[in-house]
Amino acid sequence: MAVRSARPLRLSPAVVVLSVVLLALIIPPTIFLVQTSVHETNADGSFGAFTLRYFGELFGNPRLFGNLVNNVIYAFGSAAVAIAIGTALAWIVERTNTPMRRYVFLLSIISLGIPSVLYTVSFLLLLGKAGPVNDLLRLAFGSGGPLVNVYSLWGMIVVEGIDFSPLAFLLLSSVFRANDASFEEASLMSGAGLWKTFKNITLRLAMPGILALLILVLIRAFESFEIPALVGRPGRVYVLTTDIYDSIHTQVPPNYGEAGAFSIILLVIVVIMLVFYNRLSRRAERFQTITGKGFRPRVMDLGKWRYATAATLGVLFAIIIGLPIAIVLYASFLPYYDGVRLASFSTMTLANYAHVWGSSSFRDSIGNTIIMGLVTASLVGPFTALCAWLAVRRVRGAAFLDQLATMPLIFPAIVMGVAFLHLFLHLPFPFYGTLASLILASSVRFLPYGMRYSYAGVLQIHKELEEASALSGARQTTTFLRVVLPLVAPAIVTCWLFVFLVSVKAVAMAILLAGPGSQVVAVTLFDLWDNGQVTELAAMGVIWAGMMTVVSVAFYMLARRYGLRVH
């Protein structure tokens, strides 16, 4: 046996620098979050004595248990709705010859551009007391008949379920697509009937994927803020995220300790579910890699039934995208909103648009949001691309970079908001409430999303493409500039667009961190709803969603062209 020459353990300087940056971004807010939950907070915001009373109060309070039960029902209910719709869509699109089925992906494009607040509001308009759905019920059953009360746990479940269904569709269609027809054909040839084949082969193969999706929806439901805040709170249905929000925003003075304790509990729940999720999705991926040689998914000829499935697609499309957009468009032209009335059509006006466009605060809000999105995406895109490249090429220590950059995933948006809020409040210079603070926090929050795209992008570049350059006599920098960079560029751009879209869409973190000078669209929409300015909200929402849909279309076209998985 030859003696191995002992080479010193050398870390690339790039890995060291990137690790330090990541640690500096992730460790401080985490520390402050934990500190807040176990310290008294003084009137000036500084930490007082150590205490466990916030946890004690929570666990002694029946409210926590009640809200947790709400949370669980809400999570499972919305998961059921999302997976039911997603499965129907995915099966029709991937496995049948239904006409127009390829247009379903438009769902995902449009829904990626719509801010969550606006989407939630559109359902409140549709399902609210004066909304068209209740109008129809009154028409059918008379004024004493049953009415829909959207401000309830049921309302939350339906809205969240529908909200998540485009993503459920995307994830499930990749599960259905991954099933090679030859697996099923082998079963049929072995003498199993259609049902037995579906049960023993199709479903069993899809199961890890479906379970992974289930957990993903559960996590999302536990983390979601917009729907509990806009749908649940008015109906006195509280969950953990709204508890956190209320501890800070509704109580005077803000009860930071309570918010911290709630946050830690939510964090623990999410971590546990994420562990399950990772385990399951790894299994799901392993199932997906077992594919036959001549890979082709089976498309069933439905005969005449394909018009029935096409109709189903049409109805689902209307529910998920059509009606919400229609009602918001409708409301945006009205002087005041009081449901859908024929008479209202004659009062339609462009005044809301004029008002929104003419108001400097609205324009500022849009400008701030665009700056936030641009800067966040420009920081996250190249940064994660570099991390991903080092990790994919197995540079020593780069696996650690990958793990670090994925870590923020365990923070629900509102929890990360709480964590950064405390960090910013404790800084010796004024930082809280600035646009820069918002950008910093959202960059950290969306690191994992950027990492996912960059990693997938770099993974597609065969290592031999770089080796061929080195053997041609090119030095490392030449190879990086002439071969690596041009090849990862599409991935970086795709990643950039995605991070831009998701970072401007969410409200939960911004609502805790934005100050008077750093209002962003999502928060402005939220406030408009609180103030009852529905028509201005609708007009601003239409303008913003229109702009974002353009970006979203660009994102999808690029992602498709470069074969990146979109979700």
């Binding site: 030859a2 020459s5 080195a470 053997l471």
Partner: protein, 372 residues
């Protein structure tokens, strides 16, 4: 020309399995030679190639190309891969999709240490593209080429700066069978025309036999045998080499007395006493392997077979028509089976009584034992 001495490179084991690598490979390759590294996957041939290229750093050993020491563990010398005068064709071709044919092929002339003027780059690139028959595609995007054309482009790029050494890593494995056979001839002609010293890595033994000046058969990170294709095929020195190269009848027997190299001697086998050729000297021992290639066995229905070779009688139990050949399995009267290949048209069928004979010089005793 190329000297590789006592090369070691061990990979860390993964998931309880040994990592593999190269354990003491030595090679000497002459100027202008087409030298093949042949072996099953995991035998270390690719690691050896990548160590020569500079894509891997060996643990110990010495590699030199001409007068230049590329790697020497003892002195710590290590020439970075971009300063080695080596061209390589990768298994995946590694054609850059964001460049044209010209940009791909001229890349080594534009980025290397040695600088070329724009006109010179153009001239040399056109020249090398003409050699591989791609001159008419010069301004096309590389992604518009077919698999075979990409392969030629990879070859052109590797040859562009006229390297001292050309490395080919399973270059034909991604082509379909017909194109593969055509490319063998082209590769061989191109190598002869340019005279570039070439190392060719493959796991396909027929490819290795067809193309090489010399072959090194590798097994478990070691070199099992080096020789001309005829040597390797007809005079294997180990059971592994005999079994890996082509189909063969392997008969076990005992050798009563020591034999000198190149001599004929009798081995008592399960198929009877056979007169065998010993390419290398061997001591008396039991369980020695004797190899007879199926095409060296003469099959006949006549009872009278001439020649003084080894003889057996038996019955045909299966026949396969291979187009240019017939293949028979014969159950011998002593209870063993022999594989026989012969030209078709002998009117021998299943159930026929046949006689087999094979000359002693084609009955090769193998000194080494598999896995030894």
């Amino acid at each position: 020309m190329l000297d590789v001495r006592d090369l070691h490179k061990q990979y860390a084991s993964q998931g309880g399995r040994p990592g593999g690598g190269v354990f003491g490979a030595s090679l000497h390759i002459a100027d202008g030679e087409l030298f093949t590294l042949l072996g099953p996957s995991g035998c270390g041939k690719t690691t050896t190639l990548r160590s020569i290229a500079g894509l891997e750093t060996p643990d110990t050993g010495h590699i030199s190309l001409g007068d230049t020491v590329l790697f020497d563990a003892a002195s710590g010398a290590l020439v970075p891969l971009y300063d080695r005068d080596i061209g390589m064709v990768f298994q995946s071709y590694a054609i850059w999709p964001h460049m044209t044919v010209f940009e791909n092929a001229s890349y080594p002339l534009r980025v290397g240490r040695k600088k070329f003027g724009a006109a010179d780059v153009r001239k040399r690139t056109v020249n090398v593209l003409e050699r591989v028959g791609l001159a008419e595609y010069i301004d096309r995007p590389a992604t518009h080429l077919s698999g075979g054309q990409q392969q030629r482009l990879a070859l052109a790029r590797a040859l562009a700066r006229e390297p001292k050494l050309l490395l080919l890593d399973e270059p034909l494995s991604n082509l379909d069978a017909k194109l593969r056979e055509q490319m063998r001839h082209e590769l061989k002609r191109l190598q002869r025309d340019t005279g570039v010293t070439t190392i060719y890595v493959t796991h396909d033994q027929s490819e290795a036999l067809a193309i090489s000046d010399r072959i090194a058969v590798m097994e478990d990170g070691r070199i099992a045998q080096v020789g001309s294709p005829r040597d390797i095929y007809n005079r294997p020195t180990s059971e592994f080499v005999a079994g890996f190269i082509g189909r063969t009848n392997l008969i076990r027997g005992d050798l009563a007395a020591a034999v000198g190299g190149g001599a004929l001697a009798e081995v008592v086998t399960s198929t009877g006493a056979l007169r065998c050729l010993f390419p290398a000297a061997a001591a008396a021992r039991k369980g020695i392997a004797v190899v007879v290639r199926p095409e060296h066995v003469v099959i006949s229905k006549d009872s009278a077979v001439d020649g003084d070779g080894n003889r057996l009688a038996g019955q045909v139990v299966s026949e396969i028509y291979l187009g240019e050949l017939m293949e028979y399995v014969v159950a011998t009267d002593v209870g063993t089976e022999m594989l026989v290949r012969t030209a078709p048209g002998k009117h021998i069928g299943v159930g026929d009584r046949v006689r087999l004979s094979f000359a002693p010089e084609h009955t090769v005793a193998v000194a080494g034992v598999a896995g030894a």
